[in-house]
């Protein structure tokens, strides 16, 4: 396609426009604020659909047509540079979809509505920024900016222990991004010495392609490979966000304390930023180091899968259970990344999308239940049942719950299956043992979900559940796009696979050169 | 002989009186009175200079705007005073120390 489009700019700044609009509305007009936010996110979603339509799936790498480039701080060669390729496009669409649904789900928020929705849209803009940036500095800025609304959204609108969770989330992610910052600055200074680049730059595309393979670094009297050292740094930075095993403990806290919509965004979008970081930055810039550490990533992924699933089984708080299931499912993504094959990588990106939809459904459903019950205990600490017989009491809710549950345990015909099968297919040849063990993680994954379902939904309706009402029209309305997505992409994944397979293939062939 | 100096002297006295009022009084409305005095002293200066030096009407226009601004200031200022009184039940200037905290 010839010409040039400002669509990315528009998508990125649309939510900020919404923030401005909301700030101008008096805070007593709560419904105006809600409708403004909804309208804004829907427009943004429509714009991303336009982006999807105009996207040319045959182009590997960034789509020139959509690139946006303006010098920003030209003294340091920092640019406002946006772009989209097959890896970021599904994430952008997912982001805009989930945010618009979350606005509907936050309709009942009554505490400081204006601030909530303004921060929420602000968060959306910064997430878009992360998924679109082509400049490492810009990426970093958005990565950090995203923390601010998140911190307040958890810290103000969260549960009882919200300050602890918010601070933990903030500090943990911040720690990771500091490591990333070090890597970024090091790359900036090293890039000038590289004959292919020539100047100090933050440009991700210019740096990618394994240009720093031969460099070494003198540290504590030892010669260390530059790329390996900084790959590990960035790995930790991104791994905290995913979260990969030893860095995962912020997630249950943050999820349990965050309000429903924030949990959805956290699990549905923010976790993907970590894996997206691998795909966009860590792997292309340090392909040799990534191949070198592939075993390590695969084992960590396996631990994530099994450990997350086992921990989930022991939880008595529904939300915490689903939070751990997120840990488990993101482990599959890590496995797919470690495979570094076409099937594995495609599976990983597809899993990022599918986990986004299915886990969003789970969290939304838990939120709906929480609005009725004001607690989330499957089994209370004193041993009594928190819920019972919901199947009889809430038939519609139960059907939706079953769909979400089976989608997230990877039932064929629903979205999780194809991505998990692709991941396993990609990784089997290289890591047979890990595959077999990870499949048992899948087994436990089914076990904890079914066990939870059995304890909450089967049997006689317990006394306190008798007052619960079934899903209302608004709730069904915002669940339905996700149901459709889960079913349609489970049967026919081509719409997503088509846009990403060329870009992913590009990355895989880059990695294959160093294998 | 009425010269520029005599006008300046009057305006000077007015100005000094205004300053004194603004500092001496503890009543917000009284302070506003002082502000009015100061504004008028300026206006006299403008008109006097126009009359004796430039001989055009720019000073008149300037004074006119001063009057306008004084009117606006009085309206808003007094509104604030009334609001302040509604909140604090007082128009004591030392009561308006919210910014200190």
């Amino acid at each position: 396609m010839n010409g040039h489009s400002n669509l990315l700019n528009l998508i990125l700044w649309m939510p900020m426009l919404g923030v401005l609009a909301i700030l101008l509305i008096p805070k007593t007009k709560e419904n105006w604020i809600r409708y403004t936010a909804l309208f804004n996110t829907i427009i943004t979603f429509a714009l991303t659909i336009v982006l999807y339509m105009k996207f040319d799936p045959t182009v590997p790498g960034m789509q020139q047509y959509f690139n946006v480039f303006h010098p920003w701080i030209s003294q340091f060669n920092i640019n406002y540079s946006l772009g989209v390729d097959g890896i970021s496009l599904p994430m952008i669409v997912l982001t805009s979809l989930l945010f618009s649904l979350c606005i509907l789900c936050s309709w009942t928020i009554s505490k400081s509505v204006k601030g909530y929705f303004a921060l929420f849209l602000f968060l959306q803009s910064s997430v878009f920024g992360v998924f679109m940036s082509l400049d490492f500095f810009l990426f970093y800025v958005y990565w950090e900016v995203m923390l601010i609304p998140m911190f307040f959204l958890i810290g103000i609108w969260g549960g009882e222990n919200r300050e602890y969770a918010a601070v933990k989330f903030f500090l943990y992610t911040f720690f990771g991004s500091v490591l990333m910052l070090v890597g970024m600055v090091a790359l900036y200074f090293v890039s000038a010495d590289n004959p292919d680049i020539g100047t100090n730059t933050f440009d991700i595309l210019a740096m990618s392609g394994g240009k720093f393979t031969d460099l070494s670094l003198r540290l504590f009297g030892m010669d260390i490979s530059f790329s390996k050292f900084f790959f590990v740094m960035m790995f930790i930075g991104f791994a905290i966000k995913v979260p990969v095993f030893p860095f995962h403990t912020w997630l249950p806290h943050a999820h349990v304390q965050a309000p429903t919509a924030i949990s959805v965004i956290l699990a549905g979008v923010l976790l993907k930023m970590g894996t997206y970081g691998f795909l966009r930055i860590a792997f292309p810039i340090f392909p040799q180091a990534s191949v070198h550490f592939a075993d390590c990533i695969a084992w960590l992924g396996l631990i994530n899968v099994v450990y997350g699933a086992l921990c989930a089984m022991a939880q008595t708080d529904v939300k915490k259970l689903i939070a751990y299931s997120s840990v488990s499912h993101m482990g599959f993504v890590m496995l797919g990344l470690a495979a570094m094959t076409v099937q594995g990588m495609n599976g990983a990106v597809l899993q990022m999308f599918n986990h986004g939809t299915s886990t969003a459904m789970m969290f939304l459903l838990v939120g709906i239940l929480y609005e009725r019950s004001h607690h989330r205990w499957i089994v209370r600490p004193d041993g009594t049942k928190g819920f019972g017989g919901l199947y009889t009491q809430l038939p519609k809710y139960s059907i939706v719950f079953i769909i979400a549950m089976f989608a997230s345990m990877g039932l064929p015909g629903l979205s999780g299956f194809i991505s998990e099968a692709l991941i396993f297919l990609g990784i089997y040849e290289k890591y047979t043992t890990i595959t077999v063990l990870a499949l048992f993680g899948l087994l436990i994954g089914a076990a904890y979900l079914l066990w939870m379902f059995k304890r909450m939904f089967f049997g006689e309706v317990i006394e306190e559940c008798k007052s619960y009402t079934d899903m209302n029209a608004r709730e069904i309305f915002y669940m339905s796009p996700l149901i459709v997505a889960v079913v349609v992409f489970g049967i026919y994944p081509t719409p997503i696979l088509d846009v990403m397979k060329v870009s992913v293939g590009n990355l895989v062939s880059l990695l294959a050169k160093f294998n | 002989m009425i010269t520029l100096s005599s006008y300046l002297a009057i305006s000077f006295l007015l100005f000094v009186c205004g300053i004194a009022v603004m500092i001496a009084r503890k009543n917000i409305i009284a302070i506003l009175l002082g502000v009015e005095l100061i504004l008028n002293s300026c206006a006299i200066n403008f008109v006097a200079y126009t009359r004796f030096v430039n001989n055009n009407l720019d000073g008149h226009i300037m004074s006119l705007f001063i009057i306008i601004i004084a009117a606006a200031e009085a309206a808003v200022g007094l509104a604030i005073v009334i609001r302040f009184f509604q909140i604090r039940e007082s128009i004591h200037i030392d009561d308006a120390t919210q910014l200190l905290q």
Binding site: P60, K168, Y172, P246, T249, W250, H253, Y307, L310, C311, M313, A314, Q315, V342, Q343, G389, Y391, T392, I402, L411, P412, G413, F417, A421, F424, L425, Y428, T432, T435, V436, L439, F440, A446, A447, L450, W451, K454, F457, F458, G459, E460, P493, T494, L497, K501, G505, N506, V508, S509 | I19, M22, I23, I31, I93, D94, A96, T97, Q98, L99, L100
Partner: protein, 723 residues
């Protein structure tokens, strides 16, 4: 005639469209929805009968198949990958027979359900699940590759979960459904491993490609996890069968599956769920052979057949007896696969499906009639029944025929198929000592089968009613088409002649009728040699099969044997046949003496073998081992420990511990600050800061007039300087 898609797809689309439409309409227009379900099944039956007819009545021969593939999705990227995933239809003699059986049974079960479930609060929803369930099985039979088998396989797992948990008000239904899903899923996981192993080796999971790979020797010399790849793959796939077909040691879920409504039990036990496992093993038989696990399979089958039959001896719930008999019969099929009785195992799959469907429907008919006025529930306990043959004669006849069939009485279908399995087991035993145990267990299980089935018959239909009140309230069976017609049709098909070709064992020939052993002619092991030069279809292409011409094969069971061997085989078969007749009669006799005549007191046996009796009642303690042992004592405490470790130790110390480290550094810094900086520079820095502090504080006193004076002073200063 070449099959077009239009003549194959309706088989699948009939029930599937009924399912899709019913999701939306069945709640409002229940009757229409139910009719739609049945109609969809009828369409499916009609089209599958056409195919069945073409294959059976000689239009196509043994080796003929139709294979059509369609692209599903792909990961093609220029120069990087050419990976694609296809779905396809594979139709051969085996699928033709399976399709007809599945569609037929499912259709009759649909019809029966309109009787059994009428008046239930979720009448419509039941049919939604039923349609999806049948779709799953039909899709599995039509699949051309393992991945699509796996997809439909899991779909059935989901449906069985929903159907077993259909009465969700009951806590037990929840447990049972979860148990069923999880147990089969253990097998599924292994199955998936097998699929992955085959996929990465062969590059495709289509049956024909796998056969071709086996013929080419692609599996030779490859290893996975220390085993030869073929063995590894075969074991993994067979684990899928173990889970789905409820073989030892994963048999625990099937008896609990009776928590679902009885028609759904009929569907699970007969036509769909459990048949899928055996069907898969039959399809993958060349792989099992190549992997050399047939002995293992035979043992698993024999142990299952025997073990389940013993448990069935002591069950008092009519459905439980049938459930264990299903496990036992499935064990026979697996035993048949293990001993190379491919044909017989498949025939037993079909005959069993028919008579087991009939048995469950008949049991449903009994249960539905017995209504307890005190608990307002249906009665399933045999000790409360008795003498029911007078009240429901048609059900009685149906059940009796089925019992004859399952017990292996001559002229009935069970005899034809089971006898062949046992005969082949005996043949194997004469050739290799390792097969003596399976053969022995098989024959013993036959005795037990005859015994417990007749025990059930005697307890239910004969003798005096033991619960008079219940008996008196039971209505005399009223003829209704949707209750009796399915039973009648299924009963007719329990006759052996439909399968063996001659109704009276070959001795009596009906003039003018050609007695053709169509089953034995049609079904034979997939001959991988045929696929030796087979070139895999390119992905996304459609194979019309027009260029393949296969001759109709002549049935000659001896063609793989020399004359001497054939003589030996015939002899052994004959011995086996007479032995099984004798054994069936013996089983009937014991049951008759114990429960009809009352001559032998079963209580004495119970007392004599009380330890065994308890073990049997507790199902050999498998449930205890799995649930109480492995889950409650092993996995859950481990999970709790892990979770507590995660939050209580790892998070608290390793993560939040950094706070303590920080505090430590903070203390050091504070000490430096207090001792060095403060004490040394206290007069200088501290005091000066305090001094400025005082001054600045006076300046910021919040008094406007004070600020104004400051402003004036400064302004005066400036002006003085300027002027």
């Amino acid at each position: 005639m070449e099959y077009t898609l239009g003549s194959i797809l309706p088989i699948l689309l009939g029930p599937f469209l009924a399912f899709v439409v019913n999701i939306f309409i069945v709640k409002k227009w229940t009757k229409l929805g139910v009719f739609l379900s049945c109609f969809g099944m009828f369409v499916s039956l009609f089209y599958s009968f056409r195919i069945f007819k073409d294959f059976v009545f000689g239009k196509y021969s043994t080796g003929y198949y139709v294979h059509k593939v369609f692209p599903w999705f792909d990961l093609k990227a220029a120069g990087v990958s050419n990976f694609a995933v296809d779905m396809g239809i594979y139709l051969d003699n085996m699928s033709a027979v399976m399709l007809f059986m599945v569609a037929g049974c499912a259709f009759l079960i649909h019809i029966f359900s309109t009787y059994y479930m009428a008046g239930d609060a979720r009448y419509g929803r039941f049919f939604v699940y039923l349609s999806l369930f049948t779709t799953g099985m039909l899709g599995l039979v039509l699949s051309d590759n393992l991945l699509s088998v796996f997809i439909f396989w899991e779909l059935m797992g989901f449906c069985s979960y929903s159907l077993i948990g259909f009465y969700y008000e009951k806590e037990g239904a929840g447990n049972a459904s979860m148990k069923a899903f999880m147990t089969t899923r253990i097998g599924d996981v292994f199955f998936l491993v097998g699929i992955l192993a085959i996929w990465t080796t062969v590059g495709s999971v289509r049956f024909v490609d796998i056969y071709a790979a086996i013929a080419d020797g692609s599996f030779n010399g490859l290893y996975a996890v220390g085993l030869p790849l073929a063995t590894f793959a075969a074991l993994s796939v067979f684990m899928g069968t173990i889970g789905k077909s409820a073989q030892f040691p994963l048999q625990v879920w099937l008896p609990d599956a009776m928590w679902g409504p009885t028609p759904c039990s009929a569907l699970i036990h007969a036509a769909t769920m459990v048949a899928a496992g055996v069907y898969l093993s039959l399809r993958m038989y060349p792989l099992m052979e190549l992997g050399g696990i047939t002995t293992f399979i035979a043992y698993i089958g024999a142990i299952t057949a025997f073990g389940a039959a013993t448990i069935a001896l002591v069950q008092t719930d009519i459905k439980a007896v049938l459930a264990y008999s299903t496990i036992s019969q499935l064990g026979y099929m697996v035993l048949g696969i293990g001993v190379g009785a491919y044909n017989a195992a498949f025939m037993h799959l079909i005959t069993h499906a028919v008579f087991k469907a009939c048995l469950f429907l008949a049991a449903g008919s009994v249960i539905h009639s017995l209504h307890d006025h005190h608990t307002h529930g249906h009665v399933q306990e045999m000790p409360r029944m008795g003498g029911l043959r007078k009240k429901m004669p048609l059900t009685f006849i149906a059940m009796l025929c089925c019992t004859f069939a399952i017990a292996g009485f001559p002229l009935f279908s069970g005899f034809v198929s089971k006898d062949r399995i046992l005969g082949d087991a005996l043949v194997m035993a004469t050739q290799s000592k390792a097969y003596w145990i399976p053969a022995f267990l098989g024959f013993t299980a036959a005795l037990l089968t005859a015994f417990y089935m007749f025990r059930m018959m005697f307890l239910t239909f004969f003798g005096e009613p033991r619960d008079k009140d219940l008996y008196d309230h039971t209505h005399v069976e009223k003829l209704s088409w949707n209750r009796n017609l399915p039973l009648l049709i299924l009963t007719v098909f329990t006759l052996g002649g439909w399968y063996s070709g001659h109704f009276f064992g070959g001795w009596v020939k009906i003039p003018g009728v050609e007695h053709k052993e169509w089953f034995a002619t049609l079904i034979e092991k997939p001959r991988v040699e045929n696929f030796k030069a087979y070139k895999s279809l390119p992905f996304g292409s459609v194979d019309t099969g027009a260029d393949r011409v296969f001759e109709e094969s002549q049935f000659n069971p001896d063609k793989y044997f020399t004359e001497k061997e054939a003589h030996h085989v015939h002899l052994v078969h004959a011995i086996g046949a007479w032995a099984s007749i004798a054994i069936a009669l013996a089983g009937w006799f014991i049951a008759f003496m114990m429960y009809s005549r009352g001559a032998w007191n079963p209580g004495r046996w119970v007392n004599a073998f009380s330890g065994w009796y308890r073990a049997l009642q507790n199902k050999y303690y498998f449930d205890d081992l799995y649930v109480k042992g492995i889950l409650q004592k092993g996995l859950l405490p481990f999970n709790n420990l892990l979770s507590r470790f995660d939050m209580g130790v790892f998070d608290r110390y390793a993560v939040d511990g950094w706070e303590a480290v920080n505090r430590f550094f903070y203390r050091i810094a504070k000490w430096v600050d207090d001792v060095i900086v403060d004490s040394v520079g206290v007069d200088g820095t501290g005091a000066s800061v305090r001094f400025f502090n005082v001054i600045l504080r006076t300046f910021q006193n919040g008094k406007i007039q004070f600020y104004f004076i400051i402003f004036l002073v400064v302004m005066v200063g400036y002006i003085w300087k300027l002027v």
